[in-house]
């Protein structure tokens, strides 16, 4: 019975956090929290495919980037209002993912590392296309003239609230999948795909759906981020940084649980921010490395698992 409470907990937590901008804290905190929630969406959406099914994707950056550029172009070149570009961004990313998946999942041998390579290659392919066509053309896309809708008291608050909504949605979806038959099927694929097929799991369909959902959420996060950055360049977006970071966050937090990546996202973002004072800049980087190493040595199944086990031991 306990797991039916979870969606309510998520929604209520989200509703409570929605009041943060009203607390009158300096706008900086809204932006910092925006970044944390932004990574929560990215890491959790990655995990829906890669963590649950084991199809390790190195291409999250491609779908995130597709979302960014869809939004940016619609706003800058076609004067679409910001909020309407978000579903478009999610849609384009999902279509891209499904197109890739439709071809790739049909091929029997593509598992594990091959899928990772394919998704990595897609990132560079899309990045090169974007840079060489009017989508970016090399000059970047400037969104300085696009108005930020007044959802919150300040623009930073607006981004925070949008990311909060996206994060709540993403977490709910991740939870819902985990406890459903669909999720069970994905975990079965993770553990042994051939056996799962024999048992009747529609592996092809399930993988495609998971990929579509994962890409759509990443695309939406991209759409929001485009306006946050207000100047988008291909060189910053289509790199290995985003995929690597989401992997790290998910692994650190724990990949078999819907909340794991979120924990990792908050932890790593917080860590990155604690070391921005100039005097410790270079040493700070080393410290982050040390902390990550210690964390993974002592919490090999992820932070969440460790915390849960401690919790259970207390009872």
């Amino acid at each position: 019975m306990s797991f039916r409470r979870t969606p309510w907990v998520i929604v209520l937590a989200g509703a409570a956090l929605a009041f943060v901008p009203q607390l009158g804290l300096p706008a900086f905190y809204d932006s910092l929290l925006y970044l944390m929630l932004h990574w929560v969406v990215l890491a959790t959406s990655w995990n829906i495919l890669s963590g649950y099914s084991g199809y390790f994707s190195f291409g999250h950056g491609a779908f995130f980037g597709a979302g960014i550029y869809t939004s940016a172009n619609l706003m800058a070149r076609h004067d679409w209002p910001f909020l309407w570009t978000l579903p478009a961004a999610a849609g384009v990313a999902a279509v891209l993912g499904v197109a890739l998946g439709a071809v790739v999942f049909r091929v029997k041998g593509v598992r594990g590392e091959l899928f990772a390579l394919l998704t990595l290659a897609i990132t560079f392919v899309i990045g090169t296309i974007v840079v060489n066509t009017p989508l970016d053309g090399g000059n970047g896309v400037s969104l300085a003239a696009v108005p930020v809708p007044k959802i919150g008291p300040t623009p930073s608050a607006t981004f925070y609230l949008l990311a909060l909504a996206a994060a709540v949605a993403t977490l709910l979806i991740a939870w819902a999948i985990q406890v459903s038959k669909f999720g069970a099927g994905l975990f079965a694929i993770h553990d042994d795909e051939d056996a799962a097929e024999v048992l009747g799991v529609p592996t092809y369909r399930y993988k495609l759906v998971a990929l579509a959902i994962s890409c759509a959420l990443a695309g939406m996060a991209g759409g929001i981020h485009a306006l946050f950055l207000s100047y988008v360049t291909a060189g910053d977006v289509f790199t290995i940084t985003v995929p690597l970071t989401v992997v790290l966050m998910s692994v650190l937090g724990g990949t078999r649980h819907w909340a794991g990546p979120a924990v990792g996202a908050v932890a790593i973002t917080g860590l990155l921010y604690s070391f921005t004072a100039a005097d410790h800049a270079v040493a700070g980087k080393a410290m982050i490395g040390v902390i990550l190493i210690v964390a993974i040595l002592f919490m090999p199944d992820g932070i969440l698992e460790r915390v849960r086990r401690l919790w259970q031991r207390r009872r």
């Binding site: 910092l32 060489n132 090399g138 270079v282």
Partner: protein, 404 residues
């Protein structure tokens, strides 16, 4: 009877009195009171850190000198700088922290176009004046209260190539055919596109046009194509190390272009390369006359040279990056001193209506996007040193553009 001249005793007394007054004056020069905090970010780590470290050093030198001179408005100045790790989204968030949480009095710009545009958005939201030193795309600077220290003018894609081709036309062997090879990096690409327009208008022939992906490692094929095209002159739209990589690749196939120009090379490496002989580039400042007679120039060149050597930099000379950075601080100081306040709007108005005396000479900010004149000069590597060769009025000792 004293005839209007001071006797020995009186003279000594007078000297003593003056000395006493001077020391008292020196005491009065010590800044006092709550510090004025100026906040900014810099790419202290990450891919942009190689150049950002120059800006960090310049800022430190400037603030030290400023405090020795009595600070601003009699108060000591403190520079709050954070590391944006070469990421524009981090830069944006940190600027927001500086303004809303740390509540600094004034802002200074970060390093490089992407971060500056992010910071500009924040400055605009909170109505803070933003003086910046490395914005490469003037057309994107749409905020009313931003001011550039890098004097490339509002249309550098046209003006800089024109200056370059003027210099080449006045040289002993003006080129007729041009190869344009460029990186697709945002602040480079539009400049190279402008160069292509300009050379066509001037009746030169473009024999090759190539663009490469920023991050490209293999310059072999590109070098081969340049060699094949046999141009008189190569415009290399390069940033950072790309110019060196291309030169290395060309050297490996035994080819050196007759005349070559590099847009924004990393300061040190090009000088150090033995194949960069006679290479041209553009600059707003070099540590040589007549630049060294501008405000603060001579002293800064000396101090920077010492401090850069102590910090282990490979290149200890002051050129565009360091000069633009120093100028930015000079502009900010002028605004504060001119309005005797820290009010952003007042400072912005002052800067728009007055000329500011800086390392680059007298600057104005009344053009499009608050840009003034294009002060980019052409320099050339001669005997392992950068020598300014054009326009004539800023050359020293009869320096001229050397042609092959």
């Amino acid at each position: 009877m004293k005839t209007g001249k001071l006797s020995g005793l009186d003279r000594r007394a007078a000297v003593a009195a003056i000395a006493f007054a001077a020391s008292g004056f020196a005491f009065a020069q010590q800044p006092s009171g709550p510090p004025i905090r100026i906040g900014s970010t810099l790419a202290l780590t990450g891919p942009l850190s190689a150049t950002a470290q120059i800006h960090k050093l310049v800022g430190e030198i400037y603030v030290e000198q400023l405090n020795k001179r009595g600070g601003l408005l009699g108060r000591p100045v403190e520079w709050v700088v954070k590391d944006d790790q070469s990421k524009p989204d981090l830069a944006r968030t940190l600027y927001e922290q500086l303004v809303t949480a740390d509540k600094v009095d004034l802002l200074m710009g970060p390093y490089a176009t992407g971060a500056i545009l992010s910071a500009m958005g924040v400055a605009q939201r909170y109505n803070k004046v933003l003086v910046h030193h490395t914005l490469g795309i003037p057309s994107l600077a749409k905020y009313d209260m931003q001011f550039p220290a890098w004097s490339i003018g509002s249309d550098p894609a046209t003006t800089v190539p024109n200056t370059l081709f003027d210099a080449l036309a006045a040289s002993p062997k003006p080129p007729k055919t041009v190869a344009v090879v460029t990186s697709k990096f945002p602040s480079i690409q539009f400049m190279s596109a402008g160069a292509r327009e300009v050379l066509k208008k001037r009746g030169l022939t473009e024999v090759l046009f190539l663009e490469w992906d920023f991050g490209n490692r293999d310059f072999g094929p590109i070098a081969n194509r340049v060699k094949d095209a046999k141009p008189d002159f190569v415009w290399v739209g390069a940033i950072g190390l790309e110019g060196n990589l291309l030169l290395d690749a060309m050297k490996k196939i035994d080819y050196l272009p007759p005349q070559h120009f590099y847009l924004y090379p990393a300061p040190g490496p090009l000088l150090a390369s033995p194949d960069a002989r006679n290479a041209l580039s553009a600059t707003i400042f070099e540590g040589q006359p007549p630049f060294t007679s501008n405000l603060g120039a001579a002293e800064f060149v000396k101090i920077y040279g010492e401090r850069a050597a102590r910090a282990g930099f490979t290149d200890t000379s002051v050129e565009t990056q360091a000069a633009a950075s120093y100028t930015a601080w000079q502009i900010l100081e002028a605004g504060v001193v001119g309005t005797k306040s820290l009010d952003d709007k007042a400072i912005a108005n002052y800067l728009k209506t007055h000329k500011v005396d800086t390392l680059q000479g007298k600057l104005r900010f009344d053009g499009t996007g608050n840009f003034g004149d294009d002060l980019m000069r052409i320099k050339q590597i001669q005997d392992g040193k950068w020598v300014v060769v054009w326009p004539k009025e800023v050359t020293a000792g009869g320096a001229k553009l050397l042609a092959p």
